[in-house]
């Protein structure tokens, strides 16, 4: 197992495209983590929000964040699958 992981690391180090993919994967993880935090914050704000306009604004933000997260998770999985092959 350790040898297999080591081989993969060496392969990634030598392949520029693969390196870029890893960097993207790591950035994706970071952004998704922040998006998740934002989503939690927005949900809390929604609970407290008074007024139709304000609620609609928060709901819109929530919907966008959800869609972005969904896209991100899908992409992350694609990169991971590609990496594992």
């Amino acid at each position: 197992m350790k040898t297999k992981k080591l081989l993969r690391k060496i392969r990634e180090l030598l392949n520029a495209e693969r390196r870029a993919q890893i960097a993207k994967y790591e950035s994706l993880e970071e952004v998704l983590q922040k998006l998740q935090t934002k989503e939690v914050e927005l949900r809390a704000k929604l609970e407290e929000a008074a007024g139709k306009g304000r609620r609609r604004e928060i709901l819109r933000k929530l919907e966008v964040v959800e869609a972005q997260r969904k896209k991100g998770e899908k992409l992350k999985k694609e990169i991971k699958d590609l990496r594992d092959t």
Binding site: S27, K38, E63, Q68, K71, G72
Partner: protein
């Protein structure tokens, strides 16, 4: 150096004068109150600019006689030839009227300003003006505190008239008291030396006070109190007519070449009229005597005769100069030629960076940000807002959309400060893309598209401005509110893009622009739905609805292009992170479906 010494010297002389003579103090305070009244009135009338005044001037200056009539009429109403000439300069600078028409307005303003002398000589000296001043001030101040822009403006005008009356009253009282102590008339100088001396004094007094009206009122009150002789008063009136051009000259300093030409025409006209009056002073006085007696004015009523003289010599000036308007225009165009437009040059695009992908991308991005900064002012002022309001923390609902001044000459400014740089960016990108890695070439392409979008946004503002600057002042609250909404929507997007710009390497900033995109789409859908409802309920005329449909489309496109630019040029520098963020960004279909969904929710 002279300027530095002048003000303290004047203040010292005034202070000394106040110390030795209470009468002088009263006269000077009368002048000060009078000038303050003029400033207050000007401020009041400015509240109406942007609407009625502009429309009136624009439509009624196509013929010389019309321009003269408009100049005379508006100056009579406003009692300030300076304000009319400064507004005319701004109109001319904006290309709304021709130089010939502008000259006509200035001629008319000279005639209109003579009504001031009539009012003061015929009415002001016979009635106790201070009795009217107090209620006017009280009503004026009460109205100033009102929120409506119109009422606020009326308040300033009323308070201004109140101060004018109060100022005249103090001047009159001062001269009356002065008469008891000193007889200034003893210093009268007869003949041509006196004429030239008092013309010079009249010029100087008007230059200092920045108002021929104030000089004339001072002269009339002094004349009524027999502190100046009739002949010397006439010379002072001639001098005030020449001196008043200083306001237009100062006003033209900040204007373009057309404004400077108009100020030149103003100076030539008033100096020529002055020379005519000096050269023909004896026949002019006989003419005034004859006209006064036929008007039933007593031979000893010198104040009214001064008003007659003022009107007569300005009318003669117009009659003499009117045939020379076209040659005057040509001469001024020759003397003050249009300077070759100075086009802005690119700052970051250089040969050294063209061969290196990262450097080339950064240079193109920075240059695009530079034109964005230039465009920002054009867009904000183009829609009648102020930069400090748009980028303040105040809620957008509190921005006074009708209070700002609309930037004129968008096309001209676009050509001067943006187009040439944008052209250089296009050229630079085309050259840099050759032989570049596909992903870098793609980045450059995105920057190029962002620049194109910005140009589209500026063009959109130009189209939008036509209706916006007129209909934002509409009497129909629905129309006004619709255009205020357009201003707010664009301001909202500008704020969002600006916050992304200053977010640095914030991981989520650029993604928030997706939400702004959904918001502007939803707002556009709702605005159009609301418009349908307004038309159905007959709350706005059909033709305005058509304009609004077009303007909503312009506004939406302006917003969209600005967001797209922000997404490209304010993206983070870290390539992997930028790539990740772009992968999460929502595409057009997703935005549209989300916006539609949000509206129905």
């Amino acid at each position: 150096m002279t300027r530095r010494i002048l003000l303290p010297t004047i203040l010292l002389i005034l202070a000394y004068g106040f110390w030795i003579s209470p009468d002088f103090k009263q006269i000077a305070s009368g002048v000060a109150i009078f000038l303050f009244g003029m400033l207050t009135m000007e401020r009041g009338f400015r509240a109406f600019t942007g609407g009625a005044l502009e429309r009136l001037l624009r439509r009624t200056t196509d013929r010389l006689w019309k321009s003269v009539a408009v100049g005379a009429f508006t100056t009579t109403i406003m009692q300030s030839s300076s304000l009319v000439s400064v507004i005319t300069i701004s109109f001319l600078s904006a290309g709304l009227i021709s130089l010939g028409a502008g000259i006509g307005v200035i001629f008319g303003a000279n005639l209109g300003t003579t009504t001031g002398a009539w009012l003061v000589a015929g009415f002001g000296l016979k009635v106790k003006l201070s009795a009217y001043a107090m209620p006017l001030l009280v009503f004026g101040v009460v109205l100033i505190f009102q929120r409506s822009k119109l009422v606020h403006g009326i308040g300033y005008v009323l308070a201004g008239i109140g101060f004018l009356f109060l100022g005249i009253h103090h001047m009159k009282e001062g001269f009356e008291a002065f008469k008891e102590g000193i007889d200034l008339a003893r210093y009268a100088v007869a003949g041509y030396p006196g004429l030239f001396l008092f013309v010079a004094i009249g010029i100087l007094a008007t230059v200092v006070m920045q108002s021929s009206h104030a000089t004339l009122v001072l002269v009339i009150t002094a004349l009524a109190a027999h502190q100046v002789t009739y002949e010397n008063a006439l010379a002072l009136a001639i001098g005030s007519n020449v001196g008043t051009t200083i306001t237009a000259i100062l006003g033209s300093l900040g204007s373009n070449i057309e404004g400077k030409r108009l100020a030149g025409a103003h100076l030539i006209f008033n100096v020529a009229t002055g020379f005519i009056a000096i050269a023909g002073i004896a026949p002019l006085m006989s003419l005034v005597d004859g006209m006064s007696s036929s008007l039933g004015i007593a031979a000893t009523d010198y104040t009214l005769k001064l008003a007659v003289f003022h009107t007569v010599f300005n009318t003669i000036g117009i009659v003499v100069m009117a045939p020379f308007v076209a040659p005057l225009v040509q001469t001024l165009e020759r003397w003050l030629p249009t300077p070759a437009p100075v086009f802005e040059q690119p700052r970051y695009l250089n040969e050294a960076s063209i061969d290196y992908a990262d450097a080339a991308i950064e240079a193109a991005r920075k240059e695009t940000v530079r034109i964005y900064e230039k465009a920002l002012e054009l867009i904000i002022h183009g829609i009648g807002l102020r930069k400090r309001d748009v980028f303040s923390d105040a809620p957008l609902e509190q921005i006074d959309g009708a209070g700002g001044l609309f930037e004129e000459g968008i096309e001209e400014q676009y050509h001067q400060s943006i187009k040439s740089i944008y052209g250089s960016i296009l050229q630079f990108i085309s050259r840099a893309q050759t032989g570049m890695e596909p992903e870098n070439a793609e980045e450059l392409l995105a920057i190029r598209m962002a620049g194109r979008g910005l140009v589209e946004a500026i063009k959109g503002v130009k189209h939008l401005q036509g209706n916006l600057k007129v209909l934002i002042h509409s009497k129909n609250p629905e129309i006004r509110s619709a255009y205020e909404d357009i201003q707010r929507r664009i301001a909202h997007v500008l704020r969002e893009v600006d916050s992304v710009r200053h977010a640095g390497e914030d991981r989520l900033a650029i993604l928030s622009l997706n939400e702004t995109k959904v918001a502007i789409k939803q707002e556009d859908i709702l605005a159009n739905e609301n418009l349908d409802e307004l038309v159905r309920r007959d709350l706005i005329p059909a033709e305005t609805a058509t304009s609004l449909i077009n303007d909503y489309r312009y506004a939406y496109r302006i917003c969209k292009r600005l967001i797209e630019l922000g997404q490209v040029v304010f993206a983070v520098h870290d390539e992997a992170l930028r790539d990740a963020q772009r992968s999460l960004s929502l595409d057009e279909d997703e935005i549209d479906s989300m916006a539609g969904h949000g509206v129905t929710r």
